[in-house]
């Protein structure tokens, strides 16, 4: 039993899923940080009063060393941007990712007011930092290849941990929902949020004609969240086609795993479309590659490439069809 448990955490796989998470999540974080700079809010967010709104409680390490000032805030922000760029590119990854973890903790200490995504980043980034997420699609991997080193496999445990983390986020959020998420509140939660002037992207009340759909969306959201541990079962059944008996065949036939993933992606796309929740939906979607085995990811890319090349080959024919179909009408 113990040996099986140790073997499980010792598994290796191709690095593509983790690499994709690195690129997507790093990209989301970078966009968020660049927005702070673009809007000129760096001082407001991370400088101490009276210039900014930074916390004057326990100061961050950098603040203790360099003093609380607007310059320190800008320096921290610039470091965060630089580390995010290196993180996305997978350049000097180990150093850059550890530095990014440090800088994000420092920024969080300067400005403790944040949303769920800040907390998620603080949990996820250290796991990615110790993973082999730079073993593919990265500057580091490119240099390795130039030196003649073969591509390498990475330990799978960081992906497994992030997999469990995302499930836990859903479970924890799901079981703490208030009564408006259930039948007692008439599944009104999403309708309520879309009526809140601070959260609604569209004019509050403008989606009232779609209210039954909003109730359905609330129901689907809560079912999706509470049922999220089942993704472990769906994934196991898919990876072991010989197991699970009739139930397993049912799950595979109706692709329950992909239904769940599709529901999650739709949920976050809906949030991004209808609510002003910042980077939360994008950050969550950026974590979805952890649900996909690298082999499946390669397979999907392979299929996409074949599809694109097929379309590309068809293009000249499609162009030549037009005059042929036009001719009879001209005649």
């Amino acid at each position: 039993m113990i040996e099986r448990w140790v073997r499980f955490w010792d598994r290796r796989e191709a690095p593509y899923s983790l690499a994709l998470v690195r690129i997507l999540l790093g990209g989301v974080l970078l966009a968020d940080l660049l927005q702070a700079g673009y809007f000129g809010t760096v001082t407001l967010l991370w400088a101490p009063p009276p210039l900014g709104a930074a916390s004057d409680g326990t100061p961050a390490l950098v603040v203790r060393l360099l003093g609380a000032s607007a310059e320190t805030a800008w320096l921290l922000w610039a470091c965060a941007v630089l580390c995010s760029v290196l993180f996305v590119l997978g350049a000097a990854y180990r150093v850059a990712s550890v530095a990014l973890v440090f800088v994000m903790v420092e920024l969080g200490a300067c400005q403790p007011v944040g949303d769920g995504m800040d907390s998620i980043l603080r949990v996820v980034l250290p796991v990615l930092a110790v993973s082999g997420a730079n073993a593919a699609w990265s500057v580091d991997a490119w240099f390795r290849r130039r030196k003649g080193a073969p591509p390498r496999t990475v330990t799978a445990w960081p992906r497994y941990l992030l997999f469990l983390q995302v499930i836990w986020i859903y479970v924890s959020a799901g079981h703490q929902r208030g009564y408006t998420w259930g039948p007692r509140g008439g599944f009104s939660a999403i309708g309520d949020v879309l009526g809140d002037p601070h959260w609604a992207r569209f004019m509050p009340g403008s989606l009232a004609p779609l209210y039954p759909l909003l109730c359905l969306a609330t129901l689907v959201t809560i079912v999706f969240e509470v049922s999220s541990p089942l993704i472990l079962l769906w994934t196991w059944l898919e990876r072991h086609p010989e197991r699970g008996g009739r139930f397993g065949r049912f799950a595979r036939r109706f692709r329950l795993r992909w239904v769940w993933l599709g529901a999650g992606a739709s949920l976050h796309a809906g949030i991004a479309l209808c609510m002003k929740l910042g980077i939360f939906p994008y950050g969550m979607l950026a974590l979805y590659p952890v649900f996909v085995h690298p082999d499946e990811l390669l397979d999907a890319f392979d299929r996409s490439a074949r599809f694109v090349s097929r379309m590309h080959r068809r293009e000249p024919n499609a162009g030549s069809l037009q005059p042929r179909t036009a001719r009879p009408s001209q005649g």
Partner: protein, 220 residues
């Protein structure tokens, strides 16, 4: 899941890599074997701690309708949670991880807020510059709705962030720099009642978190 024909090469390649890694591992077996156990133990510890850290903080609210004996048992959990996590708190604190308790939109509806930002001219009249969900008054809406800024001013059910006064000074400074005629800036939250059936909200005319920043206060 078996790989498709076109990717078989890649799979075979990675299969070899995995086997190669295993072979290499075998040659370092004594060292690696020890490390494998240490790593699995650390991961198990992290999973256990994450599970404990995930026990809901608002337990009293969650167990309101539970049978009394079960609720009493559940209410002991927060204390136990503190005790179990205490030895590892410095490590979690160094990483800025304070909880695995994810509360996202736990309560909706009821009384909410709508931010107003107004500028006062020399004649004493206030001009509405920004009001949430009001396209006719959307001055600075881009920056105000940027999530990190929104977190500073968006009130929770019965509290607002400590950064709110600093935010009001910052936004006032911005407005003073843009328009020299503005003598003071007022930021406040109107209470609104969320309507049933997704029908939006009804303003109440009652204001809270009222902050007035005079130009002289900022030395502008």
């Amino acid at each position: 899941m078996p790989p498709r024909a076109a990717t078989v090469k890649t799979f075979v390649y990675y299969e070899r890599q995995v086997k190669g890694a295993r072979a290499r591992r075998d040659s370092f077996a004594p060292v690696l074997s020890g490390w494998r156990y240490v790593r699995a133990s650390l991961i198990t510890l992290v999973l256990g701690l994450a599970f404990v850290a995930g026990w809901p903080a608002r337990m009293a609210k969650l167990v309101r309708d539970w049978p009394p004996s079960l609720a009493a048992l559940a209410l002991r959990l927060p204390d136990l949670q503190q005790k179990l996590l205490a030895p590892f708190a410095p490590v979690a604190g160094a990483l800025g991880i304070y909880s695995e308790d994810w509360r996202l939109f736990t309560g909706t509806g009821g009384t909410r807020y709508r931010m107003w930002i107004e500028g006062r001219r020399a004649n004493g009249s206030f001009k509405l510059l920004f009001r949430a969900a009001d396209p006719a008054h959307a001055h600075l809406s881009g920056v105000l709705e940027y999530r990190r800024v929104l977190n500073l001013w968006n009130p929770h059910r019965d509290w607002i962030s400590d950064g709110y006064p600093a935010f009001t000074r910052w936004v006032a400074r911005k407005i003073f720099d843009e328009d020299e005629r503005v003598r003071a800036v007022r930021v406040r939250m109107e209470e609104v009642a969320i309507q049933p059936r997704g029908a939006g909200f009804v303003p109440s005319g009652r204001f809270v978190y009222d902050e007035l920043v005079e130009r002289d206060q900022l030395g502008r």
